[in-house]
């Protein structure tokens, strides 16, 4: 029957032994082991988190790179466009300037020609006048060299000049 009667001695020794075991193991086994296990788990968690962060950073970097590349491309495009515009402007300006200059030159040339022409005309006129005078002098001299002719002329003139 004493199978189910707890013996006092065994209770006593079990209690003491178990409590000693509990105290020793708690201090020298469970604390360091559980500490190490949880520390390691924290470490793993941290490592995973930092890996995730690194991945995100990498993604950000890549996005940045992409963005910078895009910007650079846009800038190049803009620069090329600008250059083309400038070139076109320059060409247009040069053309118009050239046109202007050319027309100015032409105008000047025309003006010069005009004035030359006038001068030439004036000279020609005076020359012609002189020449005419010379001719007229010579003709008159010739006509007046003989008396007959002089008379004839006077008569002719008088004939023409009909009196009113």
């Amino acid at each position: 029957m004493d199978l189910v009667n707890p013996g006092f001695g065994l209770i006593f020794w079990t209690l003491i032994s178990f409590l000693c075991l509990l105290i020793i193991l708690r201090k020298f086994a469970w604390k360091p082991i559980l500490g190490a296990v949880s520390e390691r788990e924290e470490g793993i968690k941290d490592a995973l988190a930092s890996a995730e962060n690194a991945r995100k950073e990498m993604e950000n970097l890549q996005a940045d790179n992409e963005r910078i590349l895009q910007e650079a491309r846009a800038e190049r495009e803009a620069m090329l466009k600008d250059a083309r515009e400038i070139r076109e402007q320059t060409i247009a300006k040069a053309e118009s300037e050239a046109q202007e200059k050319a027309s100015q030159i032409i105008e000047k040339a025309q003006a010069a020609i005009e004035s030359e022409k006038k001068a030439a005309m004036v000279e020609l006129k005076s020359h012609v006048a002189g020449l005419s005078l010379d001719i007229a002098e010579k003709v008159v001299r010739e006509e007046l060299s003989n008396k007959d002719k002089q008379l004839k002329l006077v008569e002719g003139m008088l004939g023409e000049a009909t009196l009113n």
């Binding site: 004493d2 707890p6 065994l10 708690r26 296990v37």
Partner: protein, 366 residues
């Protein structure tokens, strides 16, 4: 004593087979000098004893010889402390060998030391085998269960202190050697027992107790199965399970919060007559929990031992070598089941303790 109320029930359930076999072998068979009594053999294996009996040579003959590790007997008598070695009884547990120490006489009756009353020189037994002229002194003896408990404690300390040192040696807390073997078990107790039962925030306080009790029960269950240790059936001893259950009960009671006591004495959320009706049930439940812990472990382990020993006894009951293969096959089968049971029972004791702690510390969630 509350335990007495469970006595008959447990005994009738557990020992039915043993009694049956005992009666079956009752008719006198053969002319052997000594009749084999399986009940006595089994009870002596399952119960505590004063020495570590390993082997008997030339049993039943003139030169019968016992190979035993003697253990100290420590008694607190009226005259103070009395100690002697168990070998002084010369393997007698029928009360024949009287040991005299300081004017006091002691006998061993079924592995219980009795002190003979003043003036008596021999013990007289009543019909049930209880001494009539002797009384029991307070017994602090290092019995084989106490001895095996200390062996198990030494083994536990060796395992876990070595494991702890392994972590100190490594820089990154990487387990190696024995630590890589015990770490999964410790993590199992933490993640599968403590955390789900007690909760993420409070489990840490109870971890040392849960781990210690888990490994302590497990290793003693295993030691109980090793045949040469001759059934130092510590975890199948009710004193052992009683002590652990009492510790669980004390921890539960002292960590009980307002919510826990409210659920016992004034159940929230039910009408007043129901509150009054539930109170005694809850109060009984408070004590039934540790009692169930105590009986479950004791009964499971003891039942396993009794079954194995009964199966082995078949060979001697039938006195036939032909029965041996069957008996060995069955006891091997049961032993394998028992190996599983060693872990399961340690797990159940631990998880139920954790559950009780969890109930005691649970916050109100209404």
């Amino acid at each position: 004593m509350r335990i007495n109320t469970f006595k008959n029930m447990i005994l009738s359930a557990l020992m039915l087979t043993v009694f049956n076999i005992g009666f079956a072998s009752d008719p006198k068979e053969g002319g052997d000098d000594k009749k084999f009594d399986p009940k006595e053999m089994i009870m002596h294996h399952v119960k505590d004893a004063y020495g570590m009996h390993i082997l008997t040579l030339n049993e039943g003959k003139e030169d019968e010889e016992h190979i035993t590790i003697p253990l100290p007997i420590i008694l607190w008598t009226d005259n103070g402390l009395t100690t002697f070695m168990s070998s002084e009884f010369h393997h007698d547990y029928h009360g024949h060998q009287v040991v005299e120490k300081g004017g006091q006489r002691f006998v061993n009756v079924h592995e219980k030391v009795y002190q003979l009353n003043e003036g008596e020189t021999a013990v007289t037994l009543d019909e049930e085998g209880h001494p009539t002229n002797a009384h029991m002194p307070l017994d602090f003896s290092i019995t084989r269960n106490v001895f095996m408990m200390w062996v198990s404690i030494v083994v536990l300390l060796l395992i876990f202190l070595t494991a702890a040192r392994r972590y100190k040696k490594s820089d990154e807390n990487v387990p190696s050697g024995i630590a890589s073997f015990v770490e999964p078990l410790i993590v199992f107790v933490r993640d599968e027992i403590a955390k789900p039962m007690i909760g993420e925030h409070k489990y840490k306080r109870y971890m040392p107790y849960l781990l210690t009790v888990f490994f302590f029960i497990w290793i003693n269950n295993i030691f109980g199965l090793i045949p040469i240790l001759n059934g130092a059936n510590l975890s199948g001893n009710i004193a052992f399970t009683f002590t652990l259950a009492v510790i669980t009960f004390i921890i539960t009671t002292f960590s009980g919060n307002k919510n826990y006591w409210k659920h016992i004495f004034w159940m929230p959320g039910v009408p007043v007559p129901m509150k009054i009706f539930l109170m005694p049930i809850e109060i009984v439940g408070m004590f039934v929990k540790p009692v169930s812990l105590m009986i479950r472990l004791f009964a499971n382990i003891t039942a396993g031992h009794i079954i194995i020993l009964s199966l082995i006894s078949l060979v001697f009951i039938f006195k036939s070598i032909a029965i041996a293969p069957i008996s060995v096959a069955f006891s091997l089968f049961i032993t394998i089941i028992e190996v599983v049971v060693t872990a399961i029972q340690a797990y159940i004791f631990t998880i139920l303790s954790a559950l009780y702690f969890g109930m005691a510390t649970e916050e109100a969630h209404h």
